[in-house]
Subunit: 304 residues, 2 copies
């Protein structure tokens, strides 16, 4: 099952021609999510040929413009392009007021159901859950209320081996019971141990996203053991004072968080526009956490 | 003196990869204006290498998202990039509330003076005037309150001929009087008629902008004799019923307005995303008004 992240925007507060403001599209087994929605996100969705009407949930980390100013345009375009399916938007207050003030000013009466739910920015909470995935939020430490998100794949059912199905001539009902971990009563009265017909499913994967935050070891408990972690790295460590003042992180600090949280891979983004190259970010972070990558616009990576 | 329009966005409600939502940058003799500011305008300003901190006045025609959703991002970027000079923004209510709600939510305390003035959408009014230029607004006929803008170059002073300056050995004070149309008293007591030393300045130029409007002959008095007119043409005439229902115009209707208003050139834009080509817009409009052009993103044209 594909679990994929597409980087729509990887820049910071002042977008450049190379880096749009923050937005990421998450695909996991027919679930379509957007995390953050900076100005230009709808154009970036088009550029990446993403069928954007399929996006059902949008998660906004905080109300700095570079993380949500593309939201009203996207909501309007959904409407103009004939959307009928529900859209669920999550983000800190007063996101709901901001969205509906725009819609009121433009006299836009949406043809689809829009639900905007304001997120608790002081505690972790589950925002969405179904049989495949769970999305939760947790507090980050930024200049204004801000949350990170964690997308967890659920434990999958046991895998029933093909050769066992053939050998024991298993029917639909027997396969269902096997997936649930039960031993199987065959048609001839024999009982076959579950272990003989099933194998363990792949380990559930997870992706954590920390949009804007200063170095904050208190977030580690929320993101620990993630398969992949996206963590902002606005500055290099030479500017760690500036990072602290502006409630941002350096590449080194992001790597320290990744190490403490015992994640598999670290992805860095949200680079200040003052840096033209990202080589030094990679170099700095890799000294602390080797499996580090830097993101760029229109890049796509698998969570494996 | 250069009088130039740069098309930053030429599309309509749902932007495409080829056409950003509406925005135009107007340059006239060291005056820098922006008309409308759809999502992505700040990126388009960068793409066109426009020194955007020089923009002093932004005029917003109405509060449909495709005409103003790039404004808060631009205001924030001005701030983040260290702007000190005043910015004046004009547009229909509740533009001021919308802007300040965003700034409040992001706790952005601007380092430069921002003045937002709400425009009367029922009558014409002068929004800005100095010795070079006058910008006025006038009501359009759209689904929500909407205004057009007219940028008028002021009458220039008389041109004092170089050869006359040399022949009569004119000093600074005498040149100043000549520019004002006065006859000149020479140092030898002789009086020289103004007509002998001056020539007429070029005729003042003007640019009118009609963002979103249905066919509305009542706007003609506001735009008449403009050097150039930009008029929306969302549809071709085969869809004139749809145009009427949605308070938009067809290419033919735009051309009829241009003809009635006795303008020199007509520029068409705001094409519905359903049309992939604009040849038919040009063909249709030219049957009524020959000096018609279609605009596209990153195009620039002179008002002459």
């Amino acid at each position: 099952m594909k679990f994929e992240v597409t980087i729509l925007g990887s820049g910071s507060a002042t977008p450049t021609l190379e880096r749009n403001p923050t937005s990421q599209y998450i695909y996991l087994n027919e679930r379509h999510f957007l995390i953050d929605c900076g100005e230009g996100t709808q154009m970036q969705l088009r550029r990446n040929k993403i069928k954007f009407q399929k996006i059902s949930h949008i998660f906004i980390s905080h109300l700095h413009g570079d993380h949500y100013l593309g939201l009203v345009g996207l909501i309007s375009s959904f409407h103009l392009l004939g959307r009928k399916n529900e859209l669920h938007v999550f983000g800190p207050a007063p996101l709901k007021d901001l969205i509906f003030s725009h819609l009121k000013a433009s006299k836009t009466y949406l043809k689809y159901p829009l639900f905007v739910k304001e997120v608790d920015t002081n505690a972790s909470s589950i925002l969405f859950e179904d049989k495949v995935v769970k999305v939760s939020s947790f507090p980050l430490k930024h200049r204004i209320p801000c949350v990170g998100f964690r997308v967890d794949e659920k434990e999958r059912e046991l895998n029933v081996k093909k050769e066992a199905i053939e050998k024991y001539n298993l029917g639909v009902e027997q396969i269902k019971l096997a997936k649930e971990g039960k031993d199987i009563l065959l048609n001839n009265g024999q009982i076959v141990s579950n272990k003989l017909v099933t194998s363990e499913p792949p380990k559930p994967r997870s992706y954590s996203f920390c949009s804007d935050t200063m170095f904050a070891p208190e977030i580690v408990s929320f993101i620990e053991n993630s398969t992949a972690l996206y963590h902002e790295a606005t500055f290099l460590d030479g500017m760690k004072q500036r990072a602290k003042q502006t409630f941002h992180s350096t590449a080194k600090q992001a790597a320290e968080i990744a190490k403490m949280a015992n994640v598999n891979q670290l992805y860095l983004g949200h680079f200040s526009a003052r840096y033209k190259e990202t080589d030094l970010f990679l170099e700095e972070a890799k000294q602390v956490f080797s499996d580090t990558h830097v993101v760029f616009d229109n890049m796509c990576f698998q969570i494996v």
